[in-house]
Symmetry: C2
Subunit: 268 residues, 2 copies
């Protein structure tokens, strides 16, 4: 079950327990103050719950309680609360030593139906026609594992014109740097946490946030070289902000819908 | 803390425990097969976690494990996992007897910041200019507690023209029937579960669903007579569908963003 992006492996001594080495490349933050990227925590939880249930995730959410520093091994314990004919309801807890870092919840499974989707990708240039952007944040952390091309809005630590974007929308093509890594549900959970650049674009300020949660809902997964992340900052209120993201394959298939709430941090 | 819509009350014998009488008017489904409406379950959990923490909800999600029939008293147990300087992370479990019906997770609190929002309401007629619609479903259940006026799309058990709506979008003005009930965070959690009419509009079919979860993220709450629910059906895949909803006050304030995943049920 080892995923090419996460070195997650089952604990041979405990059923439904998985071990996640906390590599620097799964982390964010300045050197010396790095911590596990929320999306990597959600992705690991999704991978563990899919492995434990033997079913594909329908939706999943992670609730962040604390920060995990890189270096050690985290442990993910899965509980299969309800195992129905076609759907499993599961929960998992990611622990580092005695500390609970995050808890996740998911429904997993599949039934028969037709496929359909309603939202279409923004009418933006194809990734082949967009310039490659410098990495967001430190290149040794998680953002160094991805390539970015901006299709709409501004993607920078401090937007050049420092004006609020009226539509609050940033469209970003993303893909892993490593060509061996395919874009699957696990990787989409990592990608879905790249909402902070959307806040900078929306506010025109040097701003960021700490995720309170990450929530993702999955559609059909198709092979794609890049994904188009359509990031919408929804609102700011009481020191918090909420963002949503639709993730499209390059053929226009809506593969995931994500949302999260964050604590607002303004640095300008 | 008793809410005018929910008869929730603290259990005098147990700290952090609340009792919810399962009234018929909080339920959905045909007579004899009614069960607690998911949104009412989320709303009760939000009310209990707000009371237990003394803080306003930032976001909350409920994960549905089983169905609760009307008649008895459910019990909601709150756990305050982390109580920070300005944010509490909480979880709650709604039990009926020995059975776990739903578990909910929330972050609650407030800090200083400016207010802003990006999405605007759809350009649709004001509620004063929309005709009142017949109730959705049985009038004695939860839908009988609300008034509905359609501003965009079709709102019917089986859409008259039976064609797929290209935009998958239904805009619905809603308000409580009872003029004594104000629209607050708790009531918005109930309203946010009215996604099923959006599925009928999007597919043009006699279709519905069972919620796997309900997730809501809050903005500024302002006094309003009606709210505009902008319901977007996102996609159908593997027997499931995902929907999102933005809820605006009649002055255009974005008060909440909601999303959920459902098991697809087609009856035509």
């Amino acid at each position: 079950m080892t995923h090419p992006f996460l070195s997650l492996s089952p604990d041979p001594a405990h059923a439904l327990r998985y071990i996640l080495p906390l590599d620097e490349r799964l982390c964010v933050g300045p050197p010396g103050k790095r911590f596990l990227f929320g999306g990597a925590g959600l992705a690991s939880s999704v991978a563990a719950m899919e492995a434990a249930s033997g079913r594909p995730a329908i939706w999943a959410t992670a609730h962040y309680l604390s920060y995990a520093r890189p270096g050690g091994d985290a442990q993910i314990d899965v509980r299969l609360c309800i195992e129905g004919k076609s759907i499993t309801q599961a929960r998992s807890t990611l622990m580092l030593g005695d500390e609970e870092i995050l808890s996740a919840t998911a429904a997993l499974g599949a039934r028969d139906s037709w496929d359909d989707q309603w939202p279409a990708p923004l009418d933006v240039p194809h990734w082949k026609d967009c310039a490659e952007n410098p990495h967001w944040g430190a290149e040794t952390g998680i953002s160094g594992a991805f390539r970015f091309r901006v299709a709409h809005g501004q993607f920078a630590d401090a937007p050049a014109d420092k004006v609020r974007a009226a539509d609050g929308r940033l469209a970003l093509w993303m893909r892993p740097v490593d060509d061996e890594i395919a874009i699957d549900r696990v990787l989409l959970a990592v990608i879905a946490d790249f909402v902070t650049p959307g806040l900078r674009n929306a506010t025109g300020r040097r701003a960021g946030g700490n995720s309170l949660d990450n929530t993702i809902r999955y559609g059909r997964i198709v092979p794609t070289d890049w994904v188009l992340c359509d990031i919408q900052i929804e609102l700011i209120h009481a020191g918090m902000f909420h963002g949503t993201m639709r993730i499209f394959a390059d053929d226009g298939t809506l593969m995931a819908i994500a949302s999260q709430s964050m604590i607002l941090r303004v640095r300008d």
